[in-house]
Amino acid sequence: MSELTTAARPYARAIFEMADGAGNLTEWSDSLDFMSVVASNGAVKELLSTPAMAKHSGADAFIKLCGGKLGDAEKNLVNLLSENDRLSLLPEIRVLFKAQKDESEGSVEALVSSAKKLTKAEEDEISKALKKRLGRDVKLKVSVDESLLGGAIIRAGDLVIDGSLKGRLSKLTSTMVN
């Protein structure tokens, strides 16, 4: 995974700088979303990994799969990735691109999983508190995980704020064992 990140970083950065210059960050973001979904499809992965898919036919197949939804620049990107044998990096490129986009927009994505569905007021409160802590606008992604028993876990990048009952119980276990 870490090797993939290293390899994907220059592509993501190049796409970001290009899109930022042309002012079409959102379009690129959408088309990267689309391409990475295609690329991470199991059947597509299998197809692209066959030796029979020589460099150009692989790119052509991929573009056809996308069914005319790609612009010229996107097609060039696919050709380039295929030439360097890096088509499988697309999902990773998307993640890095999004992170860079968020950073330039001064926002950050936070995943909140809670034991029960959060009310609108609770969501607002969490995003307000997170904004104070991280110093950026927060885009919340909410999910429900009943195994937490109570409370919630917030993840923003590598930072994890664990306020769940499950986390507290396991911490209690380890303090009592030691």
Binding site: T5, D158, G163, M176
Partner: protein, 513 residues
């Protein structure tokens, strides 16, 4: 033992009450790969170098390589149950071990957990395993002797408290024996000892512990063992853990002695860890920082001044200096001291005791090579009497070695040369000493005095050790007070010399050996 139920409930209540229920904020990462005791972790963006990492199976790791997109960590202990995709948490703690007098008499592993089956160790303090050595201003020069009780060492290669003296030699030359004798000799001297066993057979460590118990030496000794079957990470950390335990005593104005047995194996373990972390290999495949590995370790053995001790104890201990003396051990291959690790450690330490295979096999035990063994600061730390009497022995032996080689080709020798050869042969015989029988200062002084004043010259070479043991038992019974006074203050003057001379003449006139 009968457990008191309310006591346990109270304990649990206290633990629950004192339990911090705040939401926990931490940085997390995902394990990418685990192999050969090394885990690669993606994420952990705020990890510190040398920080402890907690894995999902409860094991800990040590972050060593901080790279752009991943962290390379060694798993400390069991890496079964750690798998790809698991989360790893930062703990915010630099690796530390329990320290304190409670550890004395115990056998612990590289993380300070007891492995001798005597139950938990109730220490209250922790010490970081990696710590900066005391600076220039905090040190005091070495001027107290660290006596090993071995005649050849105390007379020819003396070591002072706070010094680092390397014990070097091939396998099976008695390196460990010298170190164990030095520990046994500290009995009653208020010196705490730490024996760090790295990469040794568990049976050897058990044997050493048994010997130390037999001589009553375990009560002031901590054994830190990372055996051959333990992970390389533990073998690499064990000397640092032992040093942290020794520093506890040093910083409280006490004296401690630490033995690293041996640093060659620690260097091997570190080489393994480094290569698996994909650090570039250098000479003999050791990583680039192999010198620093040992220099930062040995630099922590030092003598510190009273101000430092006062500051470290917050003013509780005043006017006492502390010391940590180190005897690192290095094993050479075929007597090759110019290999990479031996030259490194020779250049770091304040001298070396060179043990020679040929001497060992010809029965000169301890097999100390007087020519190659040196001590760079020890002379300043010798007791007066040993300094005075020991000088002659060193000279006798040095001349003897040279002449002995030369005289093999000469059939006719002049009187002076013959005398020197005979004296040398007797001094060599005198320097042999059985294992586990360290001598006190006074006894050592009598042996040296007998050699210097020619009392041995008319004793047969193969009778020298009988003569010596008979003489020492005579002195012990007939001159107990005189012997004790030498042991206590170590002075030397004409009166003492005259008394020693008359004692030896009395003994010799009886002819009872």
């Amino acid at each position: 033992m009968q457990l008191n139920p309310t006591e346990i409930s109270d304990l649990i209540k206290k633990q629950i009450e004192g339990f911090d229920t705040e939401a926990e904020a931490r940085t997390e990462g995902t394990i990418v790969s685990v192999m050969d005791g090394i885990a690669r972790i993606h994420g952990l963006s705020e990890v510190m170098s040398g920080e402890m990492i907690e894995f999902s199976n409860g094991a800990f790791g040590l972050a060593l390589n901080l790279e752009r997109d991943s962290v390379g960590a060694v798993v400390l202990g069991d890496f079964k149950g750690i798998k790809e995709g698991d989360t790893a948490k930062c703990t915010g703690r630099i690796l530390d071990v329990p320290v304190g007098p409670e550890l004395l008499g115990r056998v612990v592993d590289a993380l300070g957990a007891p492995i001798d089956g005597k139950g938990p160790v109730s220490t209250t303090e922790m010490g970081p395993i990696e710590r900066q050595a005391p600076g220039v201003i905090e040190r005091k020069s070495v001027d107290e002797p660290m006596e090993t009780g071995i005649k050849a060492l105390d007379a020819m290669v003396p070591v002072g408290r706070g010094q680092r003296e390397l014990i070097i030699g091939d396998r099976q030359t008695g390196k460990t024996a010298v170190a164990i004798d030095a520990i046994i000799n500290q009995k009653g001297k208020d010196v705490k000892c730490i024996y760090v066993a790295v990469g040794q057979k568990a049976s050897s460590v058990a044997g050493i512990v048994r010997k130390l118990e037999e001589f009553g030496a375990m009560e002031y000794t901590i054994v830190v063992a990372a055996n051959a079957s333990d992970p390389a990470s533990m073998q690499y950390l064990a000397p640092y853990a032992g040093t942290a335990m020794g520093e506890y005593f040093r910083d409280r104005g006490e004296n401690a002695l630490i033995i690293y047995d041996d640093l060659t194996k620690q260097a091997w373990a570190y080489r393994q860890v480094s290569l698996l972390l994909r650090r570039p290999p250098g000479r003999e495949a050791y990583p680039g920082d192999i010198f620093f590995l040992h220099s930062r370790l040995l630099e922590r053995s030092s003598r510190v001044n009273a101000e430092f001790v006062e500051r470290m104890t917050n003013g509780k201990v005043k006017g006492k200096t502390g010391s940590l003396t180190a005897y690192p051990i290095i094993e050479t291959q075929e007597g090759d001291v110019s290999a990479f690790v031996p030259t490194n450690v020779i250049s770091i330490t304040d001298g070396q005791i060179f043990l020679d295979t040929d001497l060992f096999n010809s029965g000169n035990r301890p097999a100390i090579d007087a020519g190659l063994s040196v001590s760079r600061v020890g002379g300043a730390a010798q007791t007066k009497i040993i300094k005075k009497l020991g000088g002659g022995v060193r000279l006798d032996l040095a001349q003897y070695r040279e002449l002995a080689a030369f005289s093999q080709f000469a059939s006719d020798l002049d009187e002076g040369t013959r005398k020197q050869l005979e004296r040398g042969a007797r001094v060599t015989a005198l320097m042999t000493q059985a294992q586990y029988s360290p001598l006190k200062t006074g006894e050592l002084a009598f042996s040296l005095f007998a050699a210097n004043e020619g009392f041995l010259d008319d004793v047969d070479v193969d009778k020298v050790s009988d003569f010596e043991s008979a003489m020492l038992s005579y002195v012990r019974t007939e001159k107990t007070d005189f012997l004790n006074s030498i042991n206590d203050n170590g002075d030397y003057n004409d009166d003492i010399a005259a008394e020693m001379k008359s004692t030896l003449e009395d003994f010799k006139s009886k002819g009872s050996w």
